[in-house]
Structures are given as C-alpha cells and as structure tokens.
Amino acid sequence: MYQFEYHRATSVEDALAKLKKASDGKLVAGGMTLIPTMKQRLAQPSDLIDLGGLKDLRGIKVEGGKVVIGAMTRHFDVANSADVKKAIPALAVLAGGIGDPMVRYRGTIGGSIANSDPSADYPAAVLGLGATIKTNKREIAADSYFKGLFETALEAGEMITAVSFPVAKRAGYMKFPQPASRYAMVGVFVADTGSGIRVGVTGAGPCAFRAKDIEAALAKSFTPDAAGTVKIASKGLNSDIHGSAEYRAHLVSVMAKRAVAQALGG
C-alpha cells in the first residue's frame, strides 16, 4: 500500500477543511471499499480523513414520516434497529444482507451511497423509497443523485451527513447475489410509497436505476405477478462472466416479483 497521511476528523467542517488542504485526500467512513482498493495499490490518496469519530453522524431517528439515518451509521445498526424494522422493515432486511457480519460492523450507509458501487445494496433503497441525501451543503433527491458508474451528484467539498427515507406504505427488497463476491448481481427494492410505486434496481446496470415499466405495472396491480411478467430490456445492462445482460434483465423481474411478495408480507 502507498503511504498516506492519516487524520481524525473532529467534525464535518474539520473533515472538509482537512480534505481541502490535502493534495488528493479521501474521506474514510467504514473503509470497506476504500481499504481493499488501497491494499491492491489501485488507489493512492495523499491523505485519509477518518470520519470514525463523528458521533453526531451516527444514529437513526424516525420523525415526520421519515427514517433519518446518519451517514456514519453502520449496516449492523440499521439491520438491528427496532425503529427501522417497524417503520421500513425492508430497509432492515437490506442492511442485514450487505456483505457479511464483519463487514456490517464497519460499513456505513454514507460510505456506501457516496461510492455508488454498481452492485451495492443501498442505492436500490435510496431510489426505491425516493430518499433524500443530506449533505453539508444541501439536500439531493434520490432521482438526481446517481450519475453513473462510481459517479454521484456529490461535488468537491461536499459530504453526506444523513439519508432520509420516507416511510412507505409497504416495501420489499430482494437481491440475487453474484456467486463469488456476494454483491448484488441484481437487487430490487419495491415500494408502495402511498403516493405512487417506486422500484429501485441495483447490480443490473452501471449504476442504480428505477425500473419504470415495473412501476407502471405495479401501479395497476400491486401483485407479485404484475411485477414478474414485465419483460425488462437488456440493452445497457451489465454483462460479465457471472451473467449476461439478458439474464440480469430476467432477474430484475424475478427479484421485483419476490420483493412485492415480501412487501405484501409473503
């Protein structure tokens, strides 16, 4: 691994000040993606600013019909939060299926969403629930957040502080893991928000996206079969040694179908 300067941030402002000062600094939350990348000498940050001490960014609040999760909240905490389980059980299911138990003790929601890994789980929920990404500067709507492979709407000097998920009437999340990495080959988050249906898909494309065809079908009939019979176009979807774009497209329908069943309490 290359050398770097290590800093502990004492506040969001302090973190961003240190980041600005660094020639090529990186924020590290749980480090579950960044550290393996650095170990393989694929990243060479000059400075690492550790957000681990920012207790204010940790925690879950349910208020005004929203579940607000601090950026430094660990997957383990979301998966086991009684509040989350009650308000949006599918979100707890999703968090409880990220990586493995050891990863869930370290990985954070902020780190996951800031990275926009094409096969991370949270992006499906962010889109599926129509969450709001809160940063030190502004609030970003889910629909304008994911820009592409490892690309988001975050600007330089901007940092996620929390993610606010509107409580849905009912929701479900199903993922089909890639057999080796266990990341989502396809993950589908389905939500009946009360004011419409949203379907967030991760793993299938270069970044998370909404499956509008399935949303339309579910708006007519919120049933597993309505989702399962939608044929998703494979154009533009990922294709690799683990599965073709056609297979991924097919899995989107199947996972959507199962997510709806879960949402309906099945």
């Binding site: 050398q3 290590y6 990586g99």
Partner: protein
C-alpha cells in the same frame, strides 16, 4: 504515528506507519501470529478479531483506527489454560483441519452465538458468509458453532 490499544487485556502501544493494517500490527509488531491473512479482498475472514466486542476483519482496518480500542484475538480466548467453549466445541466436533481459517472461524462463531442464542443450522450457515474454509466442507464448523456451550 503512535497508537495505543488494549490487546487481549493488556495495553499495547507502538509507533506505526499510518498504512499499517491492524492485522499487520498484530502479527508483525506484537507477534500475535494466530490471526491470519488469506485474501486481499476482505472475503476469507481468516483475519477476524473482535474490536470492542464486534467481530471485524483486521485486514480492512488500519491500526491507527483502533486507537483506544479493546482488541481480542484468538490468543486471548483461552483463560488459565482452559479453552473457550467455542474453541472446545471446534475441537470436540473436528471443526478444523489445516487450522488456517480456524482463528477467524472461532472469532466469528463466538460473535454469531452472541447475537443468536439458539440459532438454526440455516442461520449459522448464512452468518458464516464472511468466512471461507477450504478443508472441512463446513459440516463440522457449523456443528461446532451450533453446539458450543455458550
């Protein structure tokens, strides 16, 4: 950088480079070589230790991030020469062969049983997602974790 933490109940401090991973600190600075490295991608789990009571992969955290932490490794489990019930159960059930993944399996197993008092076989298998064994076909590891007297 200087880093201080408690390892297996004893204070330990040392001067380390920022890039020193916790597992490197344990193995090379403290010579606690029971914690192993089996991959580079945070998957095999051979390096699992407990940090403040949580099972964590020590290959994916810097030593300096553990400032002030309480770290427990495989070397710290047996007390006064008596094996921890999870170690005992691995021995009783032949839950290890080459022994390389074993420290991580034992540390993960303890964490699983802390979170699930009476787990099913399916739960244990699912919870072991982050630990890879190439010798046992998992059969006896699962049995060991299920039946450990803890």
């Amino acid at each position: 950088m200087k880093v201080s933490m408690t390892v297996n109940g004893k204070p330990a401090s040392a001067e380390v480079e920022a890039r020193t991973l916790l597992v490197e600190y344990l193995r090379e600075h403290l010579r606690l070589t029971g914690t192993h490295v089996g991959c580079d991608t945070t998957q095999c789990g051979a390096c699992t230790v407990h940090i403040n009571g949580d099972a964590v992969k020590s290959c994916t955290i810097f030593a300096v991030q553990c400032e002030g932490a309480n770290v427990l490794t495989i070397e710290g489990l047996a007390k006064d020469g008596k094996l921890h019930p999870m170690q005992e159960s691995f021995k009783e059930n032949h839950g290890l062969q080459c022994g390389f993944c074993t420290p991580g399996m034992v540390m993960a197993g303890i964490d699983i049983r802390r979170r699930h008092k009476n787990p099913t076989e399916e739960t244990v298998r699912h919870e072991l997602e982050g630990n890879i064994c190439r010798c046992t076909g998992y059969h006896n590891i699962v049995k060991a974790i299920l039946t450990a007297k803890m």
